[in-house]
Structures are given as structure tokens and as C-alpha cells.
């Protein structure tokens, strides 16, 4: 041991740790699959952080463990260690290194964030949204007939906007998303379709305008790496391009009441043809429904569960659950 110079050992350790960290950064497989244009950006950034974090983790924890073994008290040794109180170069070194790392990460995150669309300044539409319902004892009593008034202004300021490629263009598809205890309602203003799941064509530049009728909800698709709160009274947006055909979970991540955990839906990413046929099918079906309803009832007089009933099928909410929600 004594013959090998310490600097050489350090060097070897350094190289090994670097290689190991680089490997971990690429192969941790902690994240779910990528299904949006933003996902690779976020993942790339995470992998860099993962690499740095692994290296720091191994170095610091390793040092602690080595010290614990090397400098354990031997039996019968009641003396103190050497009175080393500080070492300026060393202290400057370990203040400077983290500073450089975090500033680097800071700059990198600004870059990633602007490419994701997080820094897009947004439109100039400051019209406050009018949330029409009274806030009664229970938020669930919000009358859904006012839904139209909740629809956010066309281009909310807050949220994730157009990414690098879509900057300056209007979105291909705009969907109004309304969060309510404990469901998401997706409304396609161009085609009048309303659904309990989000359907989008792959490759299209989609803008969600998020609103909430009662409490704060948060719209998250883990495979998209995107999340944005739906805030009552403040319109927000989330713009993305889905890159993989498939079905992914939509999760509510802001505590919104007892059944927050069951506020789950799906986003179905179709091929463009499939999407067209889904749209057509639903447009026809819902027009017929509306015709009947217009004659029979005024939606304002419907109870929540009556109003929701047509959507419940789509949303995959079991009946029991809905009645639980309503019985509150």
C-alpha cells in the first residue's frame, strides 16, 4: 500500500468514479418512457444531474466511510486527534466547486426551460376569467352549467408555452381542460366535442387551456414530463407535442380532496387518421345527444351526477365512486 503514491490512487479512483457516474447517468432507467417533445430535454437534463449527483454521492459517502474506518479509535487510545482547525485553500476549493456546479446547472436549466416553452412570454390576454359559481359549503355543488364561462381566455400567460420549434405559431389543436373534483373534462372548442379523456394526434402541436371549477388541480402526464396546475380564477396553459402513439395516464397531483388519488384519466395519442375518426364519431354522437337534451332538459337543472352521467362512461369512473363523490 505504502509504495503506491496517494495521487495515483486518487487519480484511479477519480477515473473509476467518473466512468461509473457516467454509466449511471445513462442507465438508471428511473424515468418512464418519453412521449412528448419536451421529455427528451427534461431527461437529458436529469441524466446530467444524475451523473453529477452520483459522483458527488460516491465521493462524499465514500470519504465518510473511509474516514470512519481509518480514524476509528483504537482500544486504549485516549488521546485527541491533531488540532487541525482549517485550511483556507481546501475551504475555497469546496466552496468554489459546488458554486460552479450549481451555476452551471442554473444556466443549463434556463436553456432547457426556454426550449421546453417555460419561458415563452405568452399572449397579452389579461382578461380575468370569471368563475361564475358561488363557493358553497362543498365545492362539488358548483353548477356545471356555468362551464362555458369558466373557459379560459385564449392564450393564458402562465404555464408551459410553445417550445423552440413552435415559437410564434398558433397551436394546431386547442383543448379546453377543466379540472373538477374528481375528474378532468376535455372540451374541443373547434368541434364541440366533450370527453373525459384527452385524445390528441401524434406530432400535433397541442395547447391545453387549463381551468378549474372548484379547487386547485394539477395536470400531469408522467410520460410527457409536463405538469401544470389548474387554478380557479387564473387561466393557465400547457403546450406540448406528443411523439409516441399510445395511451398514458393523466394524473392530478395537487391535493384536491378525499378522492384526489382517484382523479385519474388518460391521454390517448392517436395516429392522425385514428384521431380524425375518433373526432367524427364523437361529434356525431354528441350532436344527437345535445338535440335530445335541448328538448328535454336544461342542463342547469341537472344534478351533478346527472350531468356527468354521459361523461362517466368515457372517463372510466365506476358508478359507485361517483355516488360516493356526490353523497358528500
Amino acid at each position: 500500500m505504502q509504495q503506491i503514491p496517494v495521487s495515483l490512487l486518487t487519480l484511479v479512483a477519480g477515473v473509476l468514479i467518473t466512468l461509473f457516474s457516467l454509466w449511471v447517468g445513462q442507465h438508471h432507467s428511473l424515468l418512464p418512457m418519453q412521449a412528448s417533445e419536451q421529455a427528451p430535454l427534461v431527461d437529458g437534463f436529469f441524466n446530467v444531474m444524475m451523473t453529477i449527483a452520483t459522483a458527488l454521492f460516491v465521493v462524499v459517502e465514500g470519504t465518510i466511510l473511509i474516514f470512519l474506518v481509518m480514524f476509528r479509535r483504537r482500544k486504549g487510545d485516549e488521546t485527541d486527534g491533531p488540532p487541525i482547525e482549517g485550511n483556507l485553500p481546501l475551504e475555497v476549493f469546496w466552496t468554489a466547486i459546488p458554486t460552479i456546479i450549481v451555476l452551471g446547472l442554473g444556466i443549463y436549466s434556463v436553456d432547457v426551460y426556454s426550449r421546453m416553452g417555460g419561458l415563452e412570454s405568452g399572449g397579452h390576454n389579461h382578461t380575468p376569467v370569471h368563475v361564475a359559481h358561488q363557493m358553497p359549503g362543498s365545492a362539488i355543488a358548483a353548477t356545471l352549467s356555468d362551464g362555458s364561462e369558466v373557459t379560459p381566455a385564449n392564450n393564458p400567460d402562465i404555464g408551459i408555452g410553445a417550445g423552440a420549434k413552435e415559437q410564434g405559431k398558433t397551436a394546431d389543436l386547442v383543448v379546453d381542460v377543466t379540472g373538477m373534483q374528481f375528474a378532468w373534462i376535455f372540451n374541443y372548442p373547434d368541434s364541440g366535442v366533450t370527453a373525459g379523456e384527452l385524445h390528441v394526434p401524434v406530432g400535433a402541436d397541442v395547447q391545453l387551456n387549463l381551468a378549474s371549477t372548484d379547487v386547485i388541480h394539477s395536470f400531469w402526464v408522467p410520460q410527457f414530463r409536463l405538469k401544470q396546475d389548474a387554478i380557479p380564477g387564473i387561466p393557465t396553459k400547457l403546450r406540448f407535442v406528443a411523439t409516441q402513439v399510445g395511451t398514458y395516464p393523466v394524473v392530478c397531483t395537487e391535493l384536491c380532496g378525499g378522492y384526489h388519488g382517484s382523479m385519474r384519466s388518460q391521454v390517448v395519442v392517436h395516429t392522425p387518421e385514428e384521431y380524425e375518426s375518433w373526432l367524427t364519431e364523437n361529434r356525431i354522437a354528441q350532436q344527437q345527444q345535445e338535440l335530445q337534451q335541448a328538448v328535454a332538459v336544461n342542463p342547469a337543472e341537472l344534478s351533478v351526477s346527472e350531468f356527468l352521467a354521459p361523461y362517466v362512461r368515457n372517463m372510466g369512473i365506476v358508478n359507485g365512486q361517483l355516488s360516493m363523490v356526490n353523497s358528500k
Binding site: L30, P32, V42, F45, F46, M49, A53, L56, V60, I64, F67, F71, D80, G81, P82, P83, I84, E85, G86, N87, E91, P98, T99, V102, L105, G106, S109, V110, V112, Y113, G118, L119, E120, V131, M135, G137, S138, A139, I158, I160, I216, S218, W220, P222, R225, L226, K227, Q228, I231, P232, G233, I234, T253, E254, L255, C256, G258, H260, G261, R264
Partner: protein
């Protein structure tokens, strides 16, 4: 500006502390029942804080175990989801406001600060007692809220949710937090004055123990941020009960303003929890490694730096909420910067180990455990400080994993380290080391088993604060739940150890660890006014390896 502060008087003259408003003869030592009274002795108050906080820790811990039992399966089959949320909310609240903060600041701070600076008591003893006695009613209010459904909106109490679920319980909850907030303001004021004005004159500023620096920074932070929380909560209380609409979106209120007010306090609150613990670390490690603390100044100043920068990072809790882009970037950078002073401390402690003669006492084991866990919690914290990645993991189990690494690994381990370290001073008796080791091993394994898998859960898509989850996450959740049971069991050896040692442990002597800070110069447990004659400081608090004798109180007579 001159401030009339009761300074330490020369021995013999007016040195009696004030009990119940009159100077009088006090008994030689406090009897057990004095601990249940409005006693103004800082040591009694410190013990009152510690014991009460530990009781709340057990209650909060039971709630945690109940939650984990519920989460062993994907469905809400054990607890009603609303009850789950009430447990979740009050678990968080109790752990933060009635366990970590009161034990670390109130308990250790009160017991140690006067002893460490060579004072006979805190600057304002009665205020001190009042500050403590605000805590039990706060705890009772929280427990009482369960009769009204329990507040269910998380410890963050975001409106509108907090305005529409269980209004009576929510009001009780708010009153409880306002009480502990008031307690914390009064306590902080007392600490600042005590440290600034009551230090023995022979102690230079660079001889002030690092624990006192930490408490000073903590107190300043508490004084600056707590009133803002109080303001936010009082407005919420008005919305709930008196028809105002500060946070009601349908009546022109703004729900995001609440979040700003809340996090302006509650982010610094994490430093309120961790800074005193850092102080404990800086006391425990040098003694048991027999080395001077490495970089005294850097550690002291980094507490102050954390205190300042910590006030400018709160929006990182709101990256996915209603904040404009520029704000997200500003707060990304400031959040990342706060990692630097924290890192400085970690490196300082690690370097203190270098060349030491490390004794693996229970206190040291917990201190090392903290060091190892905090590295993990710190690294995950940095990742979340960056807006682009936080957008993915915000409000998921990744966050739960992170803050339990920081709060459990970073705070509870430190509190335990402190208890094992100062128990001989507090009670005059040693704790049992074997039980201490069992306690440590169970805690260390339990903590990692419970919280490590949560990182993956969050990254994969499990949101937090849910009583039911997607079945794909069952397996990892089972592991977490097993870990939680182990953690639950881990408090048993500790409780037995503490009670048993207190009654019949080995006599400790004045200075069982051969430590150099002033609290070890008095008897164990310390006499009622701390010293017969006040000590004179002739060396720094951490001069291990130098040829110094531990200060004896008698040395001090001049």
C-alpha cells in the same frame, strides 16, 4: 441604541433568578412536579419542550404508520380517504410544528444556550415559559380538530380546498399554528437577546459555540418570516369564518397570493428545522471524533448565509403554479445557490473526521447517520430546485422521499444525536449504549427502506397525498410500508432506554465526554442557577488536541 438587559451579575450579588415574579429562595433542585408548572428555569423549560415534543412525535408517528398501512394496497381499504387526508395533514403539521421545531429550538436551545454562553438563565425567563406553554394548547387544538373531521388540506392548507373541507377543523388548525408561531416569535426574541447580551464577557465572538451561532441565525429567520405566515393564516381564517374573500376566486380573491405568503414562511421553516440541527452536529462531531471542528468560521458564517439566501427561494414550491417564467428562473438560481453554504457545512464535518479518534457512541452514530442521509436529501433537493425537472416531479412521491431524507435523516437523526450526547448533562445519568446501537440500526435501516423507494415511485408517476394509487406501484409501496413498521418499532428501544436510564442509569459525572464547551463545566444535572461562580473562558470551544484541560467551574473563581 441602548437596551436595558439583565446582564449577568457578579456572583453573590442579585444573581437569583426570578421565579413567579419575586426573587426568592428556590429549592436545591427541582422536584418532578415542578416540570408540570409555570417554571421559569431555562433547563426546566428545555426539558418540558423535549418531553412534550417527543409525545407529539409518537402521535405523529402513529399517524404515519397508519398512512403507510393504508398504502400497503392500492385501494383505500383501511382508512376512509378523508380520514387519510386528515392523518396526512396532521402528521405533517405535528412533525414540523410540534416535534422538530419545539425539540430542536425550544428543547435544546433553551437547555443549552444559557449554559453555553455562561449565563444563569435566558434574558426573559417568564416570556420563555409563556412561549413553551403556548405549545400544549396548540397540540390539543390539533387533536380536537379530529372531532370535526380533521383538517384535510395538507399542512400547506391551500385555498380553495382549505375553505371547503371541514371548516371548523380548519379553523382550529389555523389557531394551533398561530399559537406555535407566536411561541416561536417569543422564543426567538429571547434567544437573540440572550446570545447577544448575556454571554460571559470573557467569551470572544469566535469562542461562541456553533450551536449558539445556529440558534442565532434560526431566531433571526423566525423573526423575519413567521409574521408573514401568521398574516396568511389570519386572512384564511377570515375567509373561513367572517365572509371575507381574500382567497376566494369566485369573489375576486387570488389563491396564488396565499401560496406566496405561505411559502415565504414555510420555505425558511425548513431552515428553522435544520439549522439548529446543524448546530447540534457541530457540537457532537468534534467531541466524539476528538478533533477541533474544521472551519469554525465557515460553518458559523454559512448559517448566516443560509438565513439570508433562504428568504429568497420560496417560489421553488410554486414552479407549476401561477408564477410567470422569469420568476421561475430567478428562483431556480437562488435555490441552487443555497446548496453552497449547506455543502460547506457537510464538507466541514467530514473534514473534522479526518485524523480523528472516532468513538462510535450512539450520539456519534446518529450524527454520522445524519451526514450520510443528508447527502442524499441534499442532492435530490438540488435536482428539484431546477424548474425544468421540478415540473416533472413536483407534488409526487419524489418530493416525499426528498423531504423525509432531509427531515427524518437530517433532523430526527440530529435530535437523537443530541439526546444521546446531552442526556448525561440533562439528567445526570448515562444512557445505555447497547440499546442506543439497536435503536440506531433499526432507525437507519427503517428510514432508507421507507423513503428510498419513494424516489422511484415519484419519478414513475405516483402523486403524493393520495390514499389510493395505480396498482402498478404496489410493489414499491409494500417495501415502504415494511420500512415504516421497522421505524415504528425503532422508537421502542429508545423509549425504554430513556426512561430506564433516567431512573437508574449509571451516574454520569460532570463531563463524561471530556468536552470543552461551557455546559460541561457545571454539575450534571446543572444546579438551578447553573454555576456557583460563573466560568471564565480561557480557550475555544473545540480545542481538542491542544494541551487544554476541560474547564472546571472552580477554575473560574477570580
Amino acid at each position: 441604541m441602548t437596551l436595558e438587559i439583565p446582564r449577568n451579575q457578579p456572583p453573590g450579588k442579585e444573581a437569583t433568578i426570578v421565579v413567579s415574579g419575586t426573587t426568592h429562595h428556590h429549592p436545591e433542585a427541582w422536584k418532578w412536579y415542578h416540570y408540570f408548572t409555570f417554571n421559569v428555569d431555562h433547563k426546566v423549560i428545555g426539558i418540558q419542550y423535549l418531553v412534550t415534543a417527543f409525545l407529539f412525535y409518537l402521535i405523529g408517528g402513529l399517524m404515519a404508520v397508519a398512512m403507510r398501512a393504508e398504502l400497503a394496497t392500492p385501494d383505500a381499504d383501511l382508512l376512509d380517504p378523508n380520514l387519510y387526508n386528515a392523518f396526512m395533514t396532521n402528521h405533517g403539521t405535528i412533525m414540523i410544528f410540534l416535534w422538530i421545531v419545539p425539540s430542536a429550538i425550544g428543547g435544546f436551545g433553551n437547555f443549552l444556550v444559557p449554559l453555553m454562553v455562561g449565563a444563569r438563565d435566558m434574558a426573559f425567563p417568564k416570556l420563555n415559559a409563556i412561549a413553551f406553554w403556548l405549545n400544549p394548547p396548540a397540540g390539543l387544538l390539533i387533536l380536537a380538530s379530529f372531532f370535526f373531521g380533521g383538517s384535510q388540506s395538507g399542512w400547506t392548507a391551500y385555498p380553495p380546498l382549505s375553505l371547503v373541507t371541514a371548516p371548523i377543523a380548519q379553523s382550529l388548525w389555523i389557531l394551533a399554528i398561530v399559537l406555535v408561531g407566536t411561541s416561536s416569535i417569543l422564543g426567538s426574541l429571547n434567544f437573540v437577546v440572550t446570545i447577544l447580551f448575556m454571554k460571559v464577557p470573557s467569551m470572544k465572538w469566535d469562542q461562541l459555540p456553533l450551536f449558539c451561532w445556529a440558534i442565532l441565525a434560526t431566531s433571526v429567520l423566525a423573526l423575519l418570516s413567521t409574521p408573514v405566515l401568521a398574516a396568511g393564516l389570519v386572512l384564511l381564517l377570515f375567509d373561513l369564518n367572517f365572509g371575507t374573500s381574500f382567497f376566494k376566486p369566485d369573489a375576486g380573491g387570488n389563491v396564488v397570493i396565499y401560496q406566496h405568503l405561505f411559502w415565504f414562511y414555510s420555505h425558511p421553516a425548513v431552515y428553522l428545522m435544520i439549522l439548529p440541527i446543524f448546530g447540534i452536529m457541530s457540537e457532537v462531531i468534534p467531541v466524539h471524533a476528538r478533533k477541533p471542528i474544521f472551519g469554525y468560521k465557515a460553518i458559523a458564517y454559512s448559517s448566516l448565509a443560509i438565513c439570508v439566501v433562504g428568504l429568497f427561494v420560496w417560489v421553488h414550491h410554486m414552479f407549476t403554479s401561477g408564477t410567470p417564467g422569469w420568476m421561475r428562473m430567478f428562483f431556480t438560481i437562488s435555490t441552487l445557490i443555497v446548496a453552497v453554504p449547506t455543502g460547506v457545512k457537510i464538507f466541514g464535518w467530514v473534514a473534522t473526521l479526518w485524523g480523528g479518534k472516532i468513538r462510535f457512541t450512539s450520539a456519534m452514530l446518529f450524527a454520522i447517520g445524519l451526514l450520510m442521509m443528508f447527502v442524499m436529501g441534499g442532492l435530490s433537493g438540488v435536482t428539484m430546485g431546477t424548474a425544468p425537472f421540478d415540473v416533472h416531479v413536483h407534488d409526487t412521491y419524489y418530493v416525499v422521499a426528498h423531504f423525509h431524507y432531509v427531515l427524518f435523516g437530517g433532523s430526527v437523526f440530529g435530535i437523537y444525536a443530541g439526546i444521546y450526547h446531552w442526556f448525561p448533562k440533562i439528567t445526570g445519568r448515562m444512557m445505555n449504549e447497547t440499546l442506543g446501537r439497536i435503536h440506531f440500526i433499526l432507525t437507519f435501516i427503517g428510514t432508507n427502506l421507507t423513503f428510498l423507494p419513494m424516489h422511484e415511485l415519484g419519478l414513475q408517476g405516483m402523486p403524493r397525498r393520495v390514499a389510493m394509487y395505480d396498482p402498478q406501484f404496489t410493489h414499491l409501496n409494500e417495501i415502504c410500508t415494511i420500512g415504516a413498521y421497522i421505524l415504528g418499532i425503532s422508537v421502542i428501544p429508545f423509549t425504554i432506554n430513556a426512561l430506564w436510564s433516567w431512573i437508574g442509569g449509571k451516574q454520569a459525572g460532570d463531563n463524561p465526554w471530556n468536552a470543552l464547551t461551557l455546559e460541561w463545566t457545571t454539575s450534571s444535572p446543572p444546579a438551578i442557577e447553573n454555576w456557583e461562580v460563573l466560568p471564565v473562558v480561557s480557550h475555544g470551544p473545540y480545542e481538542y488536541g491542544h494541551d487544554v484541560q476541560p474547564l472546571a467551574a472552580t477554575e473560574a473563581s477570580t
